[in-house]
Subunit: 236 residues, 4 copies
């Protein structure tokens, strides 16, 4: 079952359950919140049904090289379905990571890390872009860094492709969505008293990227005008 997290997944499970036979296994491969998964697995277990949660990574490239699968739930059910996982994933690319919810949990943390890495690359390239060295070739530098540097990664290989299409990303607006998993990762950090400033800031900068204007900044501009007579920029 591969559906958007939330209501659709909830409703589909509710409709699906009565149609199944005891011992049947549902593999839920969406980006569900792991606590929802735990609750649903318990509900299904009371009906003799098994829910495996599968966090899935690799994006649209999975079709080509296989999908990365983080699986939570019954170890027996996992063993039963292992041939399917092995077919979908690249070698060593699937793992039973823990009980119900653990697959979605590990995927959630994966996405938090992804947010942080993307923001780190984004900031680095922005510093290069803003530099007095005006001739820096971001595609060439991405390609260079992928040959043995400490920051080499698959995301950086994609950066090569992105900068190849358009060296200055002129047509792209700096507007970044988020899928929900990054929020849950930060919420989980807060829930467990884990200081995770990079994951948090990566998320907050996405929020900022989607604002036409910042109310906080308006407040500050207004206050600076009050105490220092600093000029305020009017709305255009």
């Amino acid at each position: 079952m591969s559906l958007p997290a939330g209501e659709v997944t909830e409703n589909t499970l509710t409709e699906l359950a009565p149609l199944l036979t005891a011992g049947d296994v549902i593999v839920e491969t969406g980006n569900s919140f792991y606590r929802d998964t735990i609750r649903r697995a318990e509900w299904l277990a009371r009906q003799g049904l098994v829910l495996l949660d599968q966090g899935t990574s690799g994006g649209i490239w999975g079709l080509e090289i296989g999908f990365n699968l983080m699986i939570g739930g019954s170890r027996e059910a996992f063993a039963r379905l292992e041939p399917a996982f092995a077919t979908l994933a690249p070698p060593d690319g699937y793992l039973h990571v823990g009980p119900s919810g653990a697959g979605h949990f590990v995927k959630m943390v994966h996405n938090g890390i992804e947010h942080g890495m993307l923001q780190a690359y984004g900031e680095g390239f922005e510093i290069l872009h803003a530099s007095d060295f005006t001739e820096l070739d971001l595609r060439a530098i991405s390609h260079l860094w992928n040959q043995g540097s400490v920051v080499r990664s698959w995301l950086l290989e994609l950066a090569e492709r992105s900068f190849e299409k358009e060296p200055d990303l002129a047509s792209i607006r700096g507007y970044v969505e988020d899928s929900g998993e990054g929020r849950w990762a930060v919420a989980e950090a807060i829930d467990k008293d884990v200081p995770a400033p990079v994951l948090a800031l990566s998320l907050l900068m996405r929020f900022r990227s989607r604002q036409e204007d910042s109310f906080a900044a308006k407040v500050i501009a207004g206050l600076r005008n009050e105490f220092g007579g600093h000029a305020v920029k009017p709305q255009e």
Copy 2:
């Protein structure tokens, strides 16, 4: 001498020095970088001249209630000019804080704190503004909080004034300048291995407020498109 920090101050001191007599005292009241002040004081001392550095706070309200003065340099020169400082400042509102540069240093840290406080208020009011409680009256809440709450402050009194003029700050663009002192405060923190995330972020959010678009966010939007096929918002 009350001039913009940097070249103007430097040049004026250079022109002024030969016109003075040994023992003369210059009070430099601008927002100079404290290391420049230390260097200038040494240069002037070699000519028998005294430089006092005066960090000044209070904004345009100083005219009415007196200016807050943080003074660095020779204690004797300070004592000689004390009647002037006492005239400019409110009661207890001036202090010899240390040797040359200390006045500008303390003012620099003051401005760093100011950045952090402003951002804290800005974020808080943005959360109120974005709330489902759509009828919250930001001016009334500012006024309320100033009556005995933990967050009461002079800046919050100014917030009352600001929201009174325009409850939703509609005419103000969220574009926030910075004077230089906030940057130096962060640079000083880095120089001394002091973790100062709030001072740093307050500064960085000002930078962000002045960007039409974020190159970092463009990079991320481009990468998300590469790996996940996530749609990119085109430039308008």
Copy 3:
């Protein structure tokens, strides 16, 4: 009713409700999560009872100067109890800020701002403390700043008292608890897509202050050893 947020408040309301008469008003003055308050008010309303939520600020000083009260819920009930609020609060120090939950909501944001202000002061004083100007008198500077500077506030008046007791805070461990409201403020910001880096970082630095060691830092130290052969500090 003034009880710790959470189970105690929940249970007490459940026991209290059957003992009351239709039209009775309960004022809940703890630091409850505002969504709990909304739910409880609806539950009580179905029994003809009224719940007012009162966010309370001012700390232990309220006894002396009055408490700052942010009140949510029925406007009629508020009007009925206004004499009590007026008695508890300093002049202008209580306000009906909105419907059920709004009082606790405004208090939650207040505490988020408080976190940010405290962290801003903390970082500023740490920069002063780490400075080459080794003779800076933090109590004297706090007192100075309170005389007309931009950063003057009640918290800064308390800083005077704190540094007066102990100039270098030598006996205090840098271990900072949090009450829950700061977390909810950050969660609310995330829920509403509000970038609130200063509120978030103030919270995360409190978490960090309570860690003996950082697992994230252990990971990084380990990785730096792997790629660069950088020495790792062993546990003592």
Copy 4:
């Protein structure tokens, strides 16, 4: 010339220059600050000497797979020495990125990104470590993620090695040094008004990792005691 950045490099160049013949090329492969490099290249150019700056990445693994080289300076000198660079680097692993200083500049940004990536991984693993899913195997998850997930990278391959040696990193203290380049990257961002919160926070968390106690946190603990009577933890 491969020496620690700073005085040693400066002095060695000063001693070396008079021993060289016009047209000679010095390749400076340390982690020098790029503005120092520009200055030194100009100074050497006035003596007919050529300075190439080579940022070098890959850590101790370079010996095995080749070093990643980012080279700045004269394009002719670069062409002359290209066989040497090609010998040191893996295929496509060296590049002339720009004029004098550009090599060290690009390396500086590389290290800033590295800081951010390391912190992102560190925080992610800390969230896994703090989880209620107590059986998560961090080595196995690192290995899994390296098979086709979005966050796969060389650093994550090293994480496998690190967790293999010691699953919970028990013997490692969470104490993280920094080499200087990360600081310069943040300073450069500030100099160019680039909001780089993740690079900044990664640096600041390293500072925090090296503190026995936090003065900022002591200030906050003291203030919370003043306003709320909250207990202070004494020093042990």
